[in-house]
Symmetry: C2
Subunit: 286 residues, 2 copies
């Protein structure tokens, strides 16, 4: 899906915030902002948000010389999420439908999205987790996902953010008896999960983890590595977490279940739901 005009102020805010994570030098932060403003004033708005996001965060990386401005934020999110896991495992075991509970918790983890500019503290995450357990999700979608899982012979799980990936682990534990592998981003971009975040969640000890070779906060197939593209196209079911994967794959013909918490009006409009909703949405067939 294409960006909306609402995305433009949001990109400028992201550039301001990302600069602030790396430096307190106001002159440098001003240079970042001016470069991003100039870039956006001329850039075509026909692309997806993750493609423009890559360029904007690329400006931040180039001007600051820091290739991973969100490194500390990612570590903090992982640590925080890992502390919450033992009690959540209990909730899953005690629930009537462990798969659905794990699915809901994995979607709740999608609140940890620094692209959205919210404060991600323990309270925010705990609220999202408890809300997510009772928020409506179409019953059909969950049953349909279960059915597709039982039919699939090659499942690819596209992770989204650090911290969030720790909650993905809960769902992956429920998927262990299916033929599933997980893919993370190839290079640092915002707080998106990398191989090391998958390792902190211990996912590499239970299923195969690959990376997509790219530095995009989403999945633009043409920009991913040859290996990832092969894994992507040979899969017969994809589970894609988060807004960035939705924005870049919503027009793909592949059979994809998008799992996300809707955090912005542009995506809510495209899906036909409200900001704040949690979504299990199937698109594509092949």
């Amino acid at each position: 899906m294409k960006i909306g005009l609402e995305c433009i102020p949001c990109f400028v805010r992201q550039a301001f915030e990302a600069g602030g994570l790396v430096t307190s030098d106001n002159e440098l932060r001003e240079r970042i902002l001016r470069e991003v403003l100039s870039y956006l004033s001329e850039k075509s708005f026909d692309g997806t948000a993750p493609s423009i996001g890559r360029d904007i965060h690329g400006i931040v990386k180039t001007l600051t010389g820091d290739n991973d401005p969100y490194y500390k934020a990612k570590q903090d999110s992982n640590t925080l999420a890992l502390q919450l896991i033992p009690s959540l495992k209990g909730s899953i075991q005690d629930s009537l439908d462990p798969f659905e509970t794990a699915l809901r918790l994995a979607i709740a983890g999608n609140i940890i999205d620094y692209g959205q500019g919210d404060t991600i503290d323990e309270e925010t995450i705990k609220n999202a987790l408890s809300q997510c357990l009772t928020q409506p999700i179409a019953r059909d979608s969950i049953e349909n996902l279960k059915h597709e899982l039982s039919q699939a012979s090659n499942i690819l799980y596209l992770a989204d953010n650090a911290g969030e990936i720790v909650f993905d682990r809960l769902l992956i534990d429920e998927l262990q008896h299916y033929p599933v592998r997980l893919a993370v981003r190839g290079k640092p971009i915002i707080n998106d999960a990398l191989r090391e975040d998958a390792a902190r969640a211990g996912i590499d000890t239970v299923i195969e983890v690959i990376d997509n070779g790219a530095d995009i906060p989403g999945t633009i197939i043409e920009e991913c590595s040859q290996e990832f593209r092969e894994r992507f196209f040979e899969s017969d079911l994809i589970i894609a977490k988060g807004q960035g994967n939705y924005e870049t794959l919503s027009d793909s013909p592949k059979k994809i279940f998008f799992l996300l918490k809707v955090k912005c009006p542009v995506i809510a409009r495209d899906i036909g739901c409200n900001v704040g909703d949690i979504v299990v949405k199937k698109k594509g067939t092949v």
Copy 2:
């Protein structure tokens, strides 16, 4: 005070929102955004926010051909505020200190600020009003203002926004026995109050109303009319409502009491308070 870098994303958001008030033509809205992005990428950040705000809203006015994008929003705010007045008059009469109650309600009205991008509905205003009656204000400040009022021979009250000006009327009723006149902006800018808004609040029937001749969401003396400048400099006490007046007059040597609800971190930092605080702050001496 100078703008902060946080103001830059905020300006882009304002341009997006102001465009949307006038037109649903996405191509035109995109042109507005591109022009504003290009302007901001080159503009010196040494000015005040209201001076840059004037330029940005000037771009919106020029490209849309609409000289008053917030006209309907201003009328709606006035109407909404006028509906709340009768019961608020009762609260003032019944209160232990009618002056302080009217002062607090006038500051609460400062929530009606479309520059901040919040939704200004009846509930938001009612919440601000009830909150403002109990929020802490330094007792010294209120007593100091009362003292200065009793000593002044020429008081100038600088209004801020439409809607808000209806609540200013409550405070002006308490000031009727002082030598006070009210000044509004000279030309449309965001939802700032003009002569017609002062008239809807009935202020012109109780005290003299002047305008400052300018189209700036604040008070930049050099850009105001000769008449306003004379009234400004001959006054021995100024009451200035809102963030825009603070941003443009906080370095003035004039004896000014700023009354505002703090709605952004840049101003909170300058004043040394928190976002959400209500403030009665004296600056200057002459």
